[in-house]
């Protein structure tokens, strides 16, 4: 082997002539292209569409209408109910998923035997295809032969079967139950792993320092888990606000818009009413909310990386 074999190829020499400032961007070019085509372009397209009156029945005749769609978002008679539903959906769903998930994760860590088997079982709702899970809940909440109605009757909560999915007052709640069922396991697993990550000796040190079990939880467990909990909380918010399948499969957002959340309304506007322009404007609203959540998510994430 001679040094001649080690000489730069013509390709490497050509690369060497590219200015340094440009060359550093060459390696990220492929990723940049993918992100551009599949993420940035669709976003730009959606923003543009939100300023047009694009209709799916005449997609080629879209005209620029300025902020008319955004105006309609505020004047739309359904929007207030949908926003309220979304708020209830996200807050109740997230908090319930967090509380149940935390308790479940803590039980997995402290009390239940066979942790690995138990966590596999707990994960079933999360890994089950969304539509399958939603269909099961729809079936269970069924008004004429649903097991939940039967259960409530047996327990004496209600006297007779109630058509929950068809009631304007109740229709939002069955999908929330389904969503909590789907998200709680994820939070449980997050709780389990963060509990497992805490050095057992810290608890022994705390016991020697005279801490009661509550003080150990309050001053060791919770602070040690704080970032994981915040990350989990933000994840729950993001998953909940984006969710479409649970509602759509169980109630299609109805009756009326009584169980519609923002993603469901967007879908209806675009693919039921064919008003793509208006749907895009609604999407921008969702986009803005998600941006805020994501910003905090990344902030917390960076903070964690800085600390460990």
């Amino acid at each position: 082997m001679s040094y001649a074999d080690q000489a730069l190829s013509s390709y490497e020499r050509a690369l060497g002539r590219v200015p340094d400032g440009v060359r550093v961007y060459l390696p990220i070019l492929p990723v940049l292209a993918l992100v551009g085509v599949f993420i940035l372009y669709p976003i730009a397209q959606a923003i543009w569409t939100s300023f047009t009156d694009k209709h799916l029945l005449r997609p080629d005749e879209a005209e620029f209408v300025g902020v008319e769609n955004y105006g309609e978002v505020w004047t739309n008679p359904q929007i207030h109910e949908v926003l309220w539903n979304t708020f209830v959906w996200v807050s109740v769903g997230s908090i319930a998923a967090i509380v149940i998930g935390f308790v479940l994760g803590w039980l997995l860590h402290e009390k239940l035997p066979y942790t690995s088997v138990a966590s596999a079982i707990v994960l079933v709702p999360w890994v089950l295809p969304r539509v399958v899970g939603a269909s099961i809940w729809k079936f269970m909440f069924g008004g004429s032969q649903g097991i939940i109605n039967e259960l409530l009757v047996q327990l004496g909560v209600i006297d007779d079967y109630v058509v929950m999915l068809g009631s304007t007052e109740l229709s939002l709640w069955p999908p929330i139950v389904g969503m909590v069922w789907r998200l709680a396991p994820l939070f449980a697993l997050l709780t389990l792993t963060s509990l497992k990550g805490i050095d057992r000796q810290l608890y022994e040190a705390a016991r020697m320092d005279g801490a009661t079990p509550w003080e150990q939880f309050r001053y060791v467990t919770l602070p040690m888990m704080r970032y994981n909990l915040v990350i989990g909380f933000l994840l729950m918010l993001i998953y909940n606000i984006r969710n479409f399948s649970m509602v759509w499969v169980m109630t299609r957002g109805g009756p009326g818009v009584s169980s519609s959340t923002l993603p469901v309304m967007i879908y209806r506007a675009a693919f039921v009413d064919f008003q793509v322009g208006f749907a895009s404007a609604l999407s921008m609203l969702l986009f803005a909310v998600l941006l805020v959540f994501s910003y905090y998510y990344i902030q917390v994430y960076d903070k964690i990386r800085g600390e460990f």
Binding site: L202, A205, M208, D209
Partner: protein
């Protein structure tokens, strides 16, 4: 200010009849007020489990642990007023040094004022020379600094007992020696009864007022460092304490008038019968020579048996060297300061003073004769006797 007493303490993990492990087996000992006891033994000998039972982190299966005569078996760890320093420090990573130090105070006594706590934190920080680190988190500290904070967290509460679980094992060698001295000084200063766990016999010898040697969950011997070194109760203690390892050879002991004749194959010698507590006429024995007690005949007359050995390796350690030799197919280790002119493969004559020879019963492994500290005029005089228990242990294990 507490006298600690263990009476027949046993700890079994799992059901004893179904493959359970007996970690600590019938250990009884007393640690007097202000005394520094070291629990010494190899890994898995039950020393840490014993310590954890004293602290209340484990409950004894049998036996009684008492502080000042009061049984504490049922007292929870948090109510025992005992402080523990852990091997990996176990500092709370989300609290700064000051919060770590103050955690025990804040919990222990709800009505203690925060000014009082801050005063105590500052006093302890000053004592341990960590005043400048009070606002740092543990992640920003070096190993030695973490160790000081862990010590401070124990001292600040002025507990009834200090428990140390191999507190120096995670430090590097030079820091270990400094911290060892500091812990020793600190303990004498505050005068709190302490129990210290280690597998390092050198550490045990240098720091302990008393040493409890454990093996297989059983207490082998409880004594001062020099008792453990000079009068090890059995072969295990003799081998575990002291470095390099003691030379052990099987042989026989025969009564011969007013002396005992000892034959160990590599050499033969007489011992005055007054030195040996042997009942039988002929006995299988194990003879032990400490490497520190073996001298080259050319440099020092010991008046004891001589052993011809072929040198295999000379391992210089600065002022002295460990000589690894072979005699009649048996390995022999000696340490000597006169080694610079020695070549490997050369033969040397080693000898040992009779009073420095250890004798064990080969069947029971119990001690028949220990190492006498009495000075003998006709041996290598004073210098030999400077090599008493603790002195000989300055060498690194």
């Amino acid at each position: 200010m507490t006298t600690l007493e263990l009476d027949g303490v046993t700890k079994t993990f799992g059901a004893p009849d179904a493959g359970g492990v007996v970690a600590v087996d019938d250990v009884s000992l007393t640690v007097d007020d202000g005394e520094f006891l070291v629990l010494l033994g190899p890994s898995g000998c039950g020393k840490t489990t014993t310590l954890r039972m004293i602290g209340g982190l484990e409950t004894p299966t049998e036996g009684v642990i008492s502080f000042d005569g009061t049984e504490v078996n049922e007292v929870k760890a948090r109510n025992r007023d005992v402080a523990m320093v852990f091997q990996n420090f176990a500092l709370y990573p989300h609290m700064n040094v000051s919060q770590n130090l103050g955690f025990g105070l804040r919990r222990e006594n709800e009505d203690r004022s925060s000014e009082e706590i801050i005063d105590r934190i500052e006093a302890v920080a000053e004592m341990l020379e960590i005043e400048g680190l009070l606002d740092n988190t543990p992640a920003a500290l070096s190993g030695g600094q973490k160790q000081r904070v862990a010590l401070g967290r124990a001292i600040i509460r002025e507990p009834r007992l200090f428990l140390f679980d191999e507190p120096l094992a995670n430090l590097d060698a030079s820091l270990r020696k400094t911290m060892r001295t500091e812990i020793d000084e600190l303990q004498s200063e505050v005068g709190i009864t302490s129990v210290y766990v280690t597998h390092n016999q050198e550490e045990a010898m240098s720091i302990g007022d008393k040493i409890a040697v454990m093996n297989d969950g059983r207490l082998q011997q409880l004594g001062t460092p020099s008792e453990v070194f000079n009068e090890p109760s059995n072969q295990f203690v003799a081998q575990f304490v002291g470095s390099p390892d003691m030379n052990l050879y099987e042989g026989t002991l025969t009564e011969n008038g007013d002396v005992y004749r000892v034959n160990v194959g590599i050499t033969e010698f007489d011992l005055p019968s007054g030195l040996v507590q042997a009942g039988d006429d002929v006995l299988d024995v194990v003879v032990g020579f400490r490497p520190q007690d073996l001298f080259q005949s050319r440099t020092r007359q010991t008046g004891g048996p001589k052993i011809e050995a072929d040198l295999r390796v000379v391992e210089p350690l600065g002022t002295e060297a460990i000589l690894y030799g072979e005699t009649e197919g048996r390995a022999i280790r000696a340490t000597d300061t006169q080694f610079h002119d020695l070549d490997e493969d050369q033969s040397v004559t080693l000898s040992i003073a009779p009073e420095h020879i250890y004798l064990f019963d080969a069947n029971t492994e119990e001690l028949l004769k220990g190492r006498l500290m009495t000075e003998r005029e006709d041996t290598g005089v004073g210098e030999v006797e400077v090599r008493d228990g603790a002195g000989a242990e300055v060498r690194d294990g």
